[in-house]
């Protein structure tokens, strides 16, 4: 008898959770605003037709454009071709950083990058997520912080809300879903601890 009742309860619970299905037509960004409309619009074209173009625009020009649209950019930024940056007014970059070819900074939320950070070719910083437990699939955004000396490997992905501690390394094609501790190397999907980063000198 007890067995039976339990089974009925589970079915009812399952039934209830299954009743709610995703309905993307009900999605709204809520009170989220990327930025002033004119800024978003103008930046769209600068982003795709200058930053993301194959033409080797000087790093200095690209740094100035980023600053003009609200980014904090330190000295000596190396920023290759085919880079995408969603919202420069949500970006802060320290001194002597490298942003490789085809890096994609998809910063719906703030991305804060320290000094001497290397983001290798094809890496993706992902600040946007959705709450998949709700039918209207609302945004679940998260800031990303890369502290001094961090190295994000080629084709790697940093997920929303992740902080990479000072001098942490994410290996090639890996996916950081959680915080990376300082001076440690992580790899895989989801990225797991591989070994300590020890300097020779």
């Amino acid at each position: 008898m007890i067995q039976e009742i339990t089974t009925i309860r589970q079915d009812t619970a399952a039934e209830k959770t299954r009743r709610a299905t995703t309905d993307l037509s009900r999605f709204s960004a809520g009170d989220y605003v990327a930025g002033p409309k004119w800024k978003v619009l103008i930046w769209y074209f600068i982003n795709y037709y200058i930053m993301n173009s194959a033409f080797p625009w000087p790093y200095g020009l690209k740094s100035r454009l980023l600053r003009l649209f609200g980014a904090k950019v330190g000295r000596g930024l190396v920023i290759k071709a085919k880079v995408r940056i969603k919202n420069p007014w949500r970006l802060s970059i320290g001194d002597h950083c490298w942003i490789g070819e085809e890096v994609w900074i998809d910063n719906l939320e703030d991305v804060t990058i320290g000094d001497h950070v290397c983001i290798s070719q094809g890496a993706l910083l992902l600040t946007g997520n959705h709450d998949y437990t709700l039918p209207d699939f609302p945004y679940r955004l998260g800031k990303i912080t890369l502290e001094d000396g961090v190295w994000i490997g080629a084709r790697s992905v940093v997920c929303p809300g992740v902080t990479c501690g000072s001098h942490a390394i994410l290996t090639v094609n890996s996916t950081a879903t959680k915080h990376l501790e300082a001076w440690r190397i992580y790899g895989g999907n989801p990225a797991a601890f591989v070994r300590e980063r020890v300097m020779k000198i």
Copy 2:
């Protein structure tokens, strides 16, 4: 003695399997035809110079172009910039779906997408494979089906022949090599079961 004979047999078998090597010059698509030549040619340019361009063409225009070339496209399709779709006449999309930036639907074979499906930025739907056990490397294609409410994470890959059951989720940068069961979350390469997807309401 038996030992010796066995060894000889294995060597012979190994010798035989090793004799056949890949010869890509002998590849032919067999009786596979993507579509009428004029359609393939015209779509090539629409695909790369409109669908895949960075310019923010209206979603409605892109939906109409897809329908004009034989795709079934439901209401309310959100389809961002830089998307690639190989053969629209092999594509069916339900209502209120989202196709993120730089999604690549490489549909040599049919791709069928239900309602309220989200394919996030950079994801790849891969219908083409090769039989690597034959020297002429023939096509081994497989249809892909994404049922209602499925979410394919950013930079993920769905392999040929895979069906993602209703409301299944493939996490960021993962690779679905086998069917994903409904209401389950999968991640990694190859993608493995992570947890159930339970709705809050």
Copy 3:
């Protein structure tokens, strides 16, 4: 007492290793030269505006351009649109190879490709690395060799210094960090042995 002394020693060592931090402003390519400046400059534009363009330039034209800039290219090369090749004078390709759409051969160092090799769409051959144990982050480059009959799967990455033995296969979205043995299939990140590649005939 001994415990205490040991602790002090460890702290001092830790202190010392932590003292050296990454300083990208001190990076120099050392004695590394990609090639003659005029060659690098002209190839830059051919690479991005012809090889990497969406336009379906004939395979023969692209093969001739590669040869003109020093690549060894065998007969029957199939080379799709949107391919990137860093330094053609550091590239050798055998007969009847396929280079898929959006393949990126980032060959700061030599890349040697045998006969009948298939590099599928979106794959990345990565020859550049950095010594992260030194503050000035010097180059640590490594040649890549793909022997006859190798198949590099879609969206996969081959890391610096890796040799893929004859007829080895790297599966979709995987990352080869070490040598792949001949006639074996590898997958995951880092790529691990999956099974033998056995030919049907």
